[in-house]
Amino acid sequence: MTVHNIRHGDASDGAEAVGGRLSRVDGPAKITGAAKYAVEQQLEGLAYAVLVESTIASGKVRAIDTKAAEAAPGVLQVLTPDTIISLRTASDWFGTPPPDKPYCPLARDITFSGQHVAAIVAETFEQAVAAAALVKLSYDEAPSIVDLSDAKAGDGIPIDAMTKEWGDAQAAFASAPVRICAAYNTPREYQAPMEPHGLIARWEGDQLTVWEPSQWLDGMARTYAEWFGVPFENVRLVSPYIGGGFGSKALALSHGAVAACAAKMLGRPVRLVMTRPQTFTGYGGRAATRQTVTIGADAQGKIQSIVHRGVNETSIDGMWVEPLGSVTSIMYATPNFSSKQNVVRVNSVVPGAMRAPGENPSAFGIESAIDELAYEVGIDPLEIRLRNYAEQDPYAKKAWSTRQLREAFAAGAERFGWSKRSPEPRSMRDGNQLIGWGVAAGTYPVRRAYGEAIVRILADGSVEVESSSIDMGQGTYTILAQTAAETVGVRADDVVVKLGDSRFPRAGVTGGSRLAGVMTGAVYKAATSALDQLVGLAISDPRSPFHALQANTLVVANGRIGSPRGDGPDVSIAELLKSVGRDHIEATGDTMPANSTPEDRYKNYTTIAMALPHTEGDYSRHSWCAHFIEVHVDEDFGTVRVSRVVSALDSGRLYNPKLAESQWKGGIIMGIGQALLEEGIVDRRHGRIVNNNLADYLVPTNADIPDIEVISVGIPDLHSSVLGGKGVGELAIVGVAPAIANAVFHATGKRVRDLPITLEKLI
């Protein structure tokens, strides 16, 4: 008889336990095309909806002439604000009770170009497209506010909740021997997921099923339920795979309401998929931001004061706050600090979440500014960061749960060869190429919420996991298989994970890099109690081969059950279940507090109101990273090429290093795009994004990406999650853009404070 030992954190024994480098279990389905995405469902009687959008940025729709569209071949319905059924306003994502007023997803009052004003439903997609072109809109146009730099934009609305202050920042700045002050701008940026937004909606009586790519099934189901005034249970969201979200697929949006209305009015399932241009105005990308960062320091570069002022765009009637002081207030120790933020209303769609909202632009400000300070004082940019290292959270005044940032700086610098850097700007070159080395740090808070899962041990000894959480490529299918496999004692191959159906046990939003920590915890708990049941049956059931052994525990590994000392029977899980006459064992697990009410649970899974603050209790919890980046800048052409990236990151314990590394690299690649390429360009006369397609809105290609080396410096952080992990998905983009801007300065002596760093800013 053999006793199987599981070695934790190592896949070399074939157990593919938590910590192992198991490849994505959903990979083969995606590569072979077998994976069926939400809008690929084949439904009987499917009709096709196409949106008609406003072509002005501000004003009123005077009239909609739909005659020609109605008469066009195949047209089933023309929806306008006058013909579409009325919905109720839904609560926001905090669950704030909504105003008691109707909601119409098609607009009469226009507040941005590209707003949905009408929709065509037809028998075929092509017929709907052709008819949509026949809808004639006339407007009463009003003046619009284009963007932050518009003279009409003003200073905006102060957001007092964003104010963070301690000491006397202004006075300390005024008396500091070294002072720097600069303004940093980031443009509108877009998530640009491969899979555009879209859905299929089908009503059966008052039951609604929505197949839609979603980062948050239960939250979106709540919104649909509230819009249509049906019980939450009547709405089923199905989202088996998601072709990228980056924050943009967490909420039910107006195009979803249009499709669900059309399906209800028509009594047929309706598919609506946005065109690529519509994805630039149908929902919001990252808000454009402007920050001024003022730092006062002593002659050795020790910071005495930081004064930070931030502004971000929001829409005319929506509120989006991009927290610009989030990194500024915690990265460096300073006795005096002041950060304030305004939002400015402009005629755009309401901005939304995009990978590390807040932290990302915030880091561009402070991590550029500290670099400027390093040159001003004349010390190494890495050294200045260590001199101002925050030993505790300067704002919350709490100990860090874990902060391996010093280790990240050390590991990254060593690997990159930072000590060989020549300090002077423009001092390194290769022919026409100026070479620059830059460093910047990043951070992202550990957001925590609760989740629930079912684990079933089936008659054949395999294990099934169900959860309404989702996998948008980050690896949920894989790490939950690993968690269940390790906990129950089976091979990951023998675990089937089912996600993306709101009928499954619930989960909160997949955003803020929280899902892995939440769901591994829930699956661990469910799997533990399933294992307890299994072992309990094996010990106590008279029909079990272990009954005579009188053991008080058994070992389950690789799908087999044996005694701890290996002196009794050795049977497979399937054999045991058969002998005790059970066809499965099932356990539900959740991470909710013990006395949670059903209302608590509903609130937790359908809003973000119950999320735990990262500074809850005695600790401040964050992931950390340090990026070391080399650029080549052509001295004649101003083109910037990233030639080397070494990043060291602290995400705590990694549930699967292979997947974590992929996510980190993905974040770094997105950061390279942000630094050098990405910008929504607005025609100021029309208030409209003109580069609204992937030929003109540039994201990096393979040729833009050098080898990227990522180093994990994390240690398990049990204050952050049940199994010790911190956030992975958003961390790595934070700090990339300033590291590149700093490298560009080192290469050229030119400080670019407006992203992206395109060639005309350097020639």
Partner: protein, 327 residues
């Protein structure tokens, strides 16, 4: 996109006849045409598919030059051994164009005929004014977002940039467009916008490109295509240059020089002033840089595209100097 009928041409003549009918358009790889149909810019009533016609996809290289059939794929031409050795600039221009996927679909004739990427041209529902699309309707680009627009060859009616790469190399080496019976130098094939930006090519209804001929030239053998852009791949040029040099026997004195610009003009732009300034001179960096400034003589910017006037001469100079180094 509106409904259209689809016709598979049985012969070149049948294709020409079908395409002469109002509302008919030739369909080759479709990478421009289908895209524009989806944008609502091209509204063909009939698509005349020529991709099945025999004998139009050959690549023949002899001592006299190269003849490339209109249906040859961009990718094949780029990778052709004789094109690479005798016309490096042509191969390099193609390699740096579009993406691998597009190069595998797109044809040489279609490539010459590709339309501008002016965002206003491509969005009729938001920007009805566009003289290229609707003669006399005005130009939405002037006064708008112009970062990608031309600085050379513009008119009050249109400032749209010709986006292609291949034609820049072709214009440098005096290539000839074969329209069946008629042949026409590629420089004359592309028209300046003037008052009629809708008329882009010297091709008449019922005519069809059958082949491109590139004469054999010593300067084409020592040639390069340098394309500068923010993104390393899959982006149109911010500025580009096709350059070829032939030296005298001394290996220093320039006997023949060919310079053409892309990414900056309303058509593939031959920079004869640069050529003339350097021909007969010894290749020398300062002289090259000074002469390269002539490439943008008469350039007019519209704000955001001003950088092209700075950039283009530098691209020309770098390309010429690079060809000098290989001496």
């Amino acid at each position: 996109m509106r409904d259209f009928s689809y016709l598979r041409a049985g012969s070149i003549d049948a294709a020409r006849q079908a395409a002469a009918l109002p509302g008919a358009m030739l369909l080759a790889g479709g990478t421009t045409l289908i895209d524009l149909a989806k944008c609502g810019v091209a509204e063909p009533e009939t698509l005349v598919d020529i991709t099945h016609l025999k004998g139009l996809d050959s690549i023949e290289v002899s001592e006299r030059g190269a003849t490339i059939g209109t249906l040859a794929k961009m990718g094949h031409v780029a990778d052709h051994a004789d094109i690479k050795s005798r016309f490096p600039a042509v191969s390099e221009a193609l390699w740096q164009a579009a993406s691998a996927q597009i190069r595998n679909m797109a044809t040489i004739g279609g490539n010459l005929m590709q339309r501008t990427r002016c965002p206003y041209f491509r969005d009729p529902s938001n920007f009805p004014a566009c003289n290229k699309r609707e003669p006399g309707s005005g130009c939405s680009a002037i006064g708008g977002v112009t970062r990608g627009h031309a600085v050379l060859g513009t008119s009050d009616a249109c400032i749209a940039m010709y986006p292609g790469d291949l034609a820049v190399a072709l214009v440098a080496f005096d290539a000839i467009v074969h329209l069946g019976q008629r042949q026409i130098p590629v420089d004359d094939f592309f028209l300046l916008p003037g008052a009629t930006p809708d008329k882009e090519h010297a091709i008449e209804p019922g005519e069809m490109i059958t082949a491109i001929e590139i004469p054999s030239l010593a300067s084409a053998r020592r040639s390069t295509y340098l394309k500068i852009r923010d993104r390393q791949s899959y982006e149109f040029a911010a500025a580009s240059a096709a350059v070829g040099i032939e030296f005298e026997a001394d290996g220093r004195t320039i006997r023949d020089l060919r310079v053409a610009l892309g990414g900056v003009a309303t058509k593939p732009w031959r920079a004869r002033a640069v050529e003339d300034a350097l021909k007969g001179k010894v290749l020398e960096p300062d002289a090259v840089r000074a002469a390269s400034l002539l490439a943008v003589e008469g350039a007019v910017d519209h704000g955001a595209n001003h950088y092209k006037i700075e950039l283009a001469p530098r691209v020309v100079a770098r390309a010429i100097l690079k060809m000098g180094e290989t001496a």
